[in-house]
């Protein structure tokens, strides 16, 4: 397939190099044309179509949306559907509730978790190993819904955001400790030693030296925990359901089961779009940081 003529001064290359050259040329066509087309097609079909369905159905009237398909709406009801979602679905309350339970949980679990992870990573000995195993056992142990809520009731925290925050912290502490412990071990102990010799107390060492160095893995852990908490419905339903606090996803759940005789897909999908938007917007703006955070922190 090679069209260049062999220059007399150059020795005849072996078959392998020739094959490499021709495969490079094939690779050129692949990289320039076929691969991008394939990628675009994949994106459009695999992810595009489901998202398109959600978007387009959220703009239809109830009757039209009853059988959701990919066609464009005959009449655009975008504004009314979203308005209805905002009022009937109490979007602002849900947004507030989601943030209210997520932010303190994430801050708390990262702070406590990294503190504990630091100790567990640096201390040696049987006890430390046992404690570490206990700390990450939450990765495997399924949380027990009903008894958790019973406990909250005992503590007087049933149906409260504070109770929900503590439960989320309990649930995700293990994953934070798991990630961070591994990462701490890559921080040279000499840095700590140096600070200690200078007279710094452990608290100071942790906050001024360790925490900044933990940034990549903290980013990963934060993103993952945020993801899990923001999208949780199961536990939120048991802990907060029926109380005065509600989350965006809980509202979606209510909306999707609320209509009597016809699935109001248009409203459901309007809410799907609304409930997915916050994370999506944050992601679009911070995607480079987020992806590099995950890639930096996870594969250690």
């Amino acid at each position: 397939m090679s069209t260049t003529t062999l220059r007399p001064s150059q020795p005849v290359r072996s078959g392998a190099a020739g094959a490499a050259r021709s495969s490079r040329r094939k690779a050129g066509a692949w990289h320039r044309l076929i691969q991008p087309l394939l990628v675009a097609a994949l994106c459009a079909v695999v992810v595009g179509i489901p998202l398109w369905l959600a978007l387009i159905t959220s703009a239809k009237s109830q009757g039209e949306a009853n059988l959701p398909d990919l066609s464009m709406p005959t009449q655009w009801h975008l504004l009314d559907n979203y308005q209805r979602a905002f009022s009937e679905g109490e979007v602002w309350r849900g947004l507030f509730g989601s943030l209210l339970v997520m932010v303190p949980s994430v801050v708390g679990v990262i702070l406590f978790g990294s503190l504990a992870a630091w100790i567990l990573a640096r201390r040696s000995g049987r006890l430390a190993a046992v404690l570490y195993a206990a700390a990450i056992s939450g990765l495997i142990l399924p949380p027990a819904v009903v008894t958790i809520v019973l406990l909250l009731r005992q503590l007087g925290l049933a149906s409260t955001p504070v109770g929900m925050i503590f439960i989320y912290m309990g649930m995700y502490m293990s994953i934070v400790i798991f990630f961070i412990t591994g990462f701490v071990r890559t921080i040279p102990i000499e840095l700590e030693e140096a600070a200690r010799i200078d007279g710094a107390r452990p608290v100071r060492i942790f906050f001024t030296i360790i925490l900044p160095l933990l940034r990549p893995v903290i980013a990963t852990a934060t993103i993952l925990v945020c993801l899990y908490i923001w999208n949780d419905v199961f536990y939120a339903f048991f802990v907060l359901g029926g109380g005065s606090t509600t989350t965006l996803q809980l509202n979606l759940f209510q909306i999707a089961s609320s209509n009597l005789y016809q699935n109001n897909w248009n409203l459901i999908f309007a809410y799907v779009v609304i409930s997915s938007l916050p994370l999506l917007v944050v992601f679009i703006f911070a995607q480079r940081k987020i992806i590099s955070g995950i890639t930096g922190g996870a594969v250690k």
């Binding site: 809520v149 005992q154 048991f238 029926g242 209510q254």
Partner: protein, 439 residues
């Protein structure tokens, strides 16, 4: 080392304390105080500052709206409606187990379903309710557990019957509604030959399947079938119930249901019947509301008729539904409990006429006439109450998921014998948990 020992000690003590506390508090239904004297406030007495929580299912989400608005206006109380997502009968008891208790809730008023709420200690006793005597005699007998009334009926309980499309019947040349099940099957064959699906199955939602064996057992139920099952003298694996299951299966196998039976849903059955896609739908009388959501009373009266059906005749089978009654749990807060009772009084005494008219329901109080635009099918169904017999829901001591296994059978993954065995196993498990003698 010292800190670690301290940690361990603290953990153990904390665990021990909570363990002791938790074991006894595990079941929130154990009300410590004795029942306060049951007083009945005036229905419109002021309740300023009182907030009540009202749980209801998605199917009954808007049922009480009119009453709530009127009550709030006239008493100054606030009622917080919480719609518990499907399946209500699964999610609500779970929430109660984890400690939340509403002040009012819609609940299926059968002994088996009320058992989940431990009526004797968990629900307010409504024996002295002032409006009880104004209800029709048939309804007064219902909603009881061991002789005491725990459920306040607000709507007429359902009767299982056959809704049919009059035009399709006429087209197939059927002039008389069938007078027993065999004649029904013959009519079904005729309709099939005339080109329409005889029955609409809605197996996709699973629960509509259970009406078929139940209507086939109506006469046996009258003769005491469920008493025998309740005392372990008969079972779901016994000859009577098995025969009913097998007969239902034979209808499915004979192709007498709509072609998309396996995935069709309850919501689709209403429009299907109105359009004449199918000739008949076997359903509880709540089906009328489904019809009303897509057609007006005039159309329904013109197109749809109703007749009860059973193995040997036209015996109706009563299924009090989740939309038939409310319960008032004991929350321990005397003020809210009294307010809940007041709400029920308001509904059934002060507001009943307005309620019945705005919701187009059949009245269960003989002194309050049913609105004129209630579809005829609903009126027919309520008339059948007087002679009807109780269903499994009504008469069995616990409620196994009969419909789940029946739906599996129709899907082809279980045999009739499997259905009997599995339902019986679940029945025994539940009866044992309830402490029924003989299990």
């Amino acid at each position: 080392m010292g800190t670690q020992r301290m940690i361990r000690a603290a953990a153990i003590t904390a665990a021990g304390a909570l363990l002791l506390a938790g074991c006894s508090a595990a079941n929130p239904d154990a009300s410590k105080g004795g029942s306060s004297a049951v007083t009945w406030n005036e229905p419109t007495a002021s309740l300023k500052g009182v907030t009540l929580t009202y749980w209801t299912a998605t199917q009954t989400a808007k049922m009480a709206d009119q009453v709530i608005t009127a009550f709030e206006k006239q008493t100054g109380a606030t009622i917080n409606t919480v719609v518990i997502p499907d399946v209500y009968e699964t999610n609500a008891p779970t929430k109660i187990a984890s400690g939340s208790k509403p002040d009012l809730a819609t609940w299926q008023p059968t002994a088996s379903m009320l058992a989940l709420l431990q009526p004797k200690t968990g629900l307010q006793n409504l024996n002295t309710a002032p409006w009880l005597k104004t209800l029709s005699p048939g309804v007064q007998q219902l909603g009881k557990v061991d002789g005491s009334t725990y459920a306040a009926f607000v709507n007429v309980p359902s009767v299982i019957g056959m809704f049919y499309n009059k035009d399709v019947f006429a087209k197939a040349g059927i002039t008389q509604t069938p007078t027993n099940f065999d004649k029904l099957v013959t009519d079904a064959q005729t309709i099939k030959a005339a080109g329409t699906a005889p029955f609409y199955g809605a197996v996709g939602d699973r629960w509509p399947t259970q009406w078929w064996p139940q209507v086939l057992l109506a006469e046996k139920a009258k003769a005491g079938l469920w008493d025998a099952v309740n005392t372990n003298k008969d079972a779901f694996t016994g000859p009577d119930i098995q025969a009913a299951i097998v007969e239902y299966k034979s209808l499915v196998d004979a192709g007498l249901f709509n072609p998309d039976n396996l995935t069709s849903t309850y919501n689709e059955s209403g429009p299907a019947l109105l359009n004449g896609e199918a000739a008949m739908v076997l359903q509880i009388s709540g089906f009328t509301s489904l019809l009303q959501s897509s057609a007006d009373t005039k159309t329904i009266n013109a197109k749809i008729g109703w007749f009860p059906i059973s193995k040997d005749g036209n015996l109706g089978t009563i299924v009090p539904g989740g939309d038939s009654a409310l319960v008032a749990p004991k929350t321990g807060n005397a003020k809210r409990e009294a307010a809940a009772r007041q709400f029920l009084r308001f509904w059934m005494e002060t507001d009943y006429k307005s309620y019945v008219e705005s919701s187009k329901q059949v009245s269960i109080e003989p002194t309050v006439p049913s609105p004129t635009d209630v579809p005829q099918v609903a009126l027919d169904a309520s008339k059948a109450l007087d002679t009807a017999v109780g269903s499994m829901q009504q008469l069995a001591v616990v409620n196994p998921d009969f419909y789940v296994f029946l739906a599996d059978m129709v899907q082809g993954t279980k045999t009739p014998e499997d259905v009997g065995k599995l339902t019986q196993a679940q029945f025994e498990q539940l009866a044992k948990a309830l402490g029924v003698k003989g299990f």
